[in-house]
Amino acid sequence: MVRSFLSIAMSAVSNCSLYSKDHASVEELGRKAFSILNTLLEESERLELMIVGEDLIVNKSPLKDIGIQGKNLLKRLRKKGITRVDILRGVSYAEMKQWIAGIASVHEEIKGSAHIKVGTVDVRIGGLRVDGEFVADMAVPPGLPSVQVEKVKDLYQGVSPFKKLNMTGLEDIVVNFILTFKREVNILKLISPVKSYSEYTYTHATNVTVLSLFQAESLGFKDDLLRDIGIAALLHDVGKLFMSKELLEKKVALDEWERSEIRLHPVYGAKFLAKMDGVPRLATIVAMEHHLRYDGTGYPVYAMGKKQHLCSQIVAIADFFDALRSQRPYRKALEVKEVLALIKKDAGSAFNPFLVDNFLRSMQAALSE
């Protein structure tokens, strides 16, 4: 029954996010979820939802096989910084609806209410026996900076990045990425084969990440979205892992068969990433689409046609810029002005004209400083 409640409540959240909080489907699903919730609360005074690691703990027992909707709930709550939700008997439909809208909203916080308590989970550890007087002293003033907040700071400094850490070179970026990704998920194991296979691929991935985050930040993306864009950019060429070293490092232009082989790397990349637990799904999309073009051409050809995702459009510009600014065995790097001119020329066909405009302006401003 808990699964059923979560599934329907999360469907309401999804509809709220897709349509609006007042949409009839949200109302309908919300009512259904509320009805199940009330049945649950007849048996127990509260429904305790707790996130510990990757697990969802319901009323102090782990809930197994939570499915995509359960995972979706975990992800959304984590994004909001919530790891514990207690729903108490007596909860009203209005309270539940507000909770659903809070989970669905990108910007709004999830507000607690009289019968829906939200917060975080911590482990109770003490190193000493304490006397009564100390218990009173333990009333730590609210808002005290905690270890968690420090962690968050570290995390964000790691992700969005580079200026705050006063990095002196690309080496530091690489290290920083490794640190960052180690915290997120063991992505190191994804990229290390790329590193050892083709050094260019790795430096290219790093540069593309820098250039993608540069664009994304100027567009106003932040926090988790920025992080996901960074990860997607770093992994965009991971499919090259499956290409032969000879092919990747060939010093002459590729023949037809070799080109068709290389053109498979988005599919290999997407296949690889789609199967990885913990990798943002955006990374799969970008790996698949970064060679699609704004006008719908490019490769791989989607059977049903596909508009390139905005993140793929961002990465495509970064990818193009870095590829032409880098030296390859068979050609010299182009000058920055030449590359920017080429990007401008392809605005509207290969690239999103708005993003091109933003990229050109931002690059010119950055380089003129």
């Binding site: 962690k151 990095m167 106003g220 600014r325 690059m363």
Partner: protein, 718 residues
């Protein structure tokens, strides 16, 4: 401070831990065998024997072996077994799945006990609570295996708090750490020493009775207080807190705690080295000052380390090199990777100019462009990402680069997504999935797997779920819902009809009827079958749906219902026949008009008008000519006038002329209503035949009549 043991440092694993590592591998093999084969299978006996032999060796070193489990990590004493080892991980996860936080094997352990334990941890008990699992374990009565179960009561609720990145991977480790240390609190007294401000903690410790506490207690406080250093580099802030705490202590305690700090830090100099890189020279000098002041003895190695750092210029967070390798956090990068990071290697791809450009890009704070980020954020919403992810997966499935196992994996993945698509009305995604599977069913490559998957998408349960979702979101995404139904075709029609019959909501019924009507003639067989249903409203709805079907084949099936006892049924039946121009329907309607009266008659007359049945004009006129003895009689003529007007047959005009243009002395109000009704439909008659009506109407004092007449007069003149 917890020491991480990584594979590269195998020589530092204590003997029993290494042995236990091997034992765990054997335990895991035997666990697997026990889960697959019966007790008398040779593989079970053999693997149990090997695991048992390893345990025996361990018992020679220790009478009890305790394994703690931090989700996917096994911990022995203070040592974390290599997290990357898949066998340790698998074994740990099996224990975690049973909510086991620690297990102790005791000397005297027998093979049968081990077998029973393996059976226990291999069983699937998805819906069992921790208490259930604990009881089941207790019932096994294993004398030489003790298991502790996770106490979720120890996970404290911090109401109102939020963490921008609530992804603390160390929660499990902290839990187990507390468990091992015996400091895990399951009540509300202690909230974690790390949360306490240094001065407050010092005040508390100052009040303690010294005699009560041993060395371990001081270590415990220190390790708890600097716990953060187990997870990431020890920062300047941590050291500041520690120094503040120590400075706040009574003199005699100051030394004790400082000694403890030195002891804790000295346990792992590599970790200390890493940590101290993040601490400023000033802080280190201050620490050394306090240590000297208290005359605390420092091990030489730590002293050297502190001296080294106190002399170095502070470089912030940097990474130490070891033998050509680079240690980043606890990741050891091989020398060849480090080589890659070197400037000269970098130049092979990135010239110095580009390098500088990238640096500038990094240093530049790009101004925000004025744009509609809300629309973009929508593109990054969970739902939109899920949709695009699905499309990418479909393309992967279309490609030639996947194996049969991968195909199955992706099909399973899509199955998970499907529920979300269904309940959010993203039926287009579902169509693409099923369409692809249908294509693959015809191919040789994955025919069998595609066929299996399709069977599920076409199952009664799944289609039933679709129908349920229609009730919730169908109306909002009607077009997509119809496309999906069209795609499912005849398979979904019976379910839709059942839904129509059962649904109590008029709005939903209208939706289902609308969808069913879209099917056109494809709906006929199922609807005709349902016509036999005994419930009148089912018959009525089926006839209503058939109303749009133009094929004459349905006529014989419908005719019997023209004379049905329930008027709602017979009306729908006659409508169907009128639609296909069947004479039987007209005759039935004629009979009803002639024989019925009151409300029933009004309905039949209205039907004749709505369907503009010219054949019924004489019958309608007959009704019109009936003498009106009362106002009510006259009132009854209004629907007739209306019906005749809708038909617009000039044959009716003579009779209407008497009624409309004649002077009425009695029932003047009703007569005026009759006139108004006539003028409302006047435009339906051929214009030349109603000129006298128009002229009369132009002179009327009734506004409606006058305006209608003016309109027609203008039209006539134009």
């Amino acid at each position: 401070m917890v020491i991480y043991i990584v594979a590269e440092n195998a020589d530092r694993i204590p003997l029993d831990a290494r042995l236990l590592g091997d034992a765990i591998i054997e335990l895991n093999i035997s666990r697997r065998n026990v889960s697959i084969y019966p007790r008398d299978h040779p593989s079970v006996d053999k693997s149990l024997g090997r695991a048992f032999a390893f345990m025996e060796k361990l018992f020679e070193l220790r009478p009890e072996i305790t394994l703690a489990v931090a989700k996917d990590t096994l911990i022995i004493d203070d040592y974390y077994l290599d997290k990357k080892n898949p066998v340790y991980r698998e074994f740990a996860l099996h224990l975690s799945d049973m909510s086991i936080s620690h297990v102790t094997f005791v000397t005297g352990l027998g093979k049968e006990e081990l077998y029973a334990f393996h059976r226990f941890i291999s069983e699937k008990r998805d819906s069992a609570s921790v208490a259930d699992l604990e009881n089941s374990f207790r019932e096994l009565n294993l004398l030489h295996i003790r298991a502790g179960f996770i106490d979720y009561g120890a996970f404290r609720f911090v109401e109102g708090a939020s963490e921008t990145a609530a992804k603390d991977p160390s929660l499990w480790e902290r839990y187990v750490y507390g468990l091992l240390e015996g400091t895990l609190q399951t009540n509300d007294i202690a909230d974690g020493i790390v949360e306490i401000p240094p001065d407050m903690l010092a005040r508390f410790v100052n009040r303690m009775v010294v005699a009560e506490h041993k060395e371990e207690t001081y270590d415990s406080v220190i390790t708890s207080y600097v716990r953060r250093s187990t997870e990431s580099a020890f920062t300047s802030r941590d050291l500041r807190r520690l120094l503040d705490f120590i400075n706040g202590l009574r003199p005699e305690l100051k030394k004790q705690f400082l000694t403890s700090t030195v002891r804790v830090v000295s346990k792992d100099l590599d970790a200390a080295y890493k940590s101290l890189r993040g601490v400023s020279v000033d802080e280190i000098i201050e620490l050394l000052g306090v240590i000297n002041e208290q005359k605390v003895v420092i091990p030489d190695a730590l002293k050297n380390l502190l001296d080294k750092f106190s002399l170095l210029p502070w470089e912030g967070v940097a990474t130490p090199l070891f033998g050509g390798g680079l240690l980043v956090d606890d990741i050891f990068l091989s020398p060849d990777i480090v080589n890659l990071l070197r400037e000269d290697q970098f130049g092979a791809f990135i010239d110095s100019t580009y390098h500088k450009e990238i640096q500038k890009v990094m240093a530049f704070k790009a101004p925000r462009v004025g744009s509609d980020t809300a629309a973009w954020e929508q593109e990054f919403s969970e739902e939109a990402i899920e949709r695009d992810f699905n499309r990418a997966v479909l393309e992967v499935l279309r490609s030639d680069v996947i194996s049969s196992e991968e195909y199955q994996e992706f099909v399973d993945l899509m199955r998970e997504q499907t529920e979300q698509f269904v309940w959010t009305g993203q039926y287009g995604r579902l169509i693409d999935i099923v369409r692809l599977l249908s294509e693959h069913e015809k191919d040789e490559r994955f025919s069998e797997k595609a066929s299996e998957a399709l069977a599920e998408y076409y199952s009664d349960a799944f289609v039933g779920g679709l129908i349920e979702s229609f009730r919730v979101v169908g109306r909002q995404v009607r077009e997509e819902a119809w496309k999906l139904c069209d795609f499912y075709g005849e398979r979904i029609i019976p379910k839709l009809i059942d839904a129509l019959i059962d649904d109590s909501s008029q709005v939903n019924r209208r939706f289902f009827i609308g969808i069913l009507k879209e099917f056109g003639d494809r709906i006929i067989p199922e609807v005709l079958r349902k016509l036999g249903d005994s419930r009148w409203y089912v018959k009525r709805n089926m006839l209503y749906i058939l109303g749009d079907c133009q094929t004459p084949d349905i006529v014989p099936h419908i005719r019997p219902y023209c004379r049905h006892e329930n008027r709602k049924v017979s009306i729908e039946a006659i409508k169907c026949l009128l639609n296909v121009g069947d004479r039987y329907g007209i005759d039935a309607l004629k009979d009803y008009i002639r024989s019925e009266s009151g409300e029933a008659a009004r309905e039949w007359i209205a039907l004749a008008g709505a369907y503009r049945v010219r054949e019924l004009v004489p019958d309608l006129l007959a009704v019109l000519r009936k003498r009106a003895l009362t106002g009510s009689d006259l009132y009854e003529k209004i629907p007739v006038v209306k019906a005749l007007g809708e038909i617009g047959d000039p044959r009716a005009l003579d009779a209407l002329r008497d009624l409309v243009l004649g002077k009425s002395i009695l029932f003047r109000n009703v007569a005026e209503r009759v006139r108004e009704e006539f003028y409302r439909t006047l435009k339906q008659y051929p214009l030349p035949s109603v000129k006298d009506f128009i002229e009369a109407g132009l002179k009327s004092k009734n506004k409606l009549i006058r305006e209608e007449s003016e309109r027609l007069s203008t039209k006539d003149q134009g």
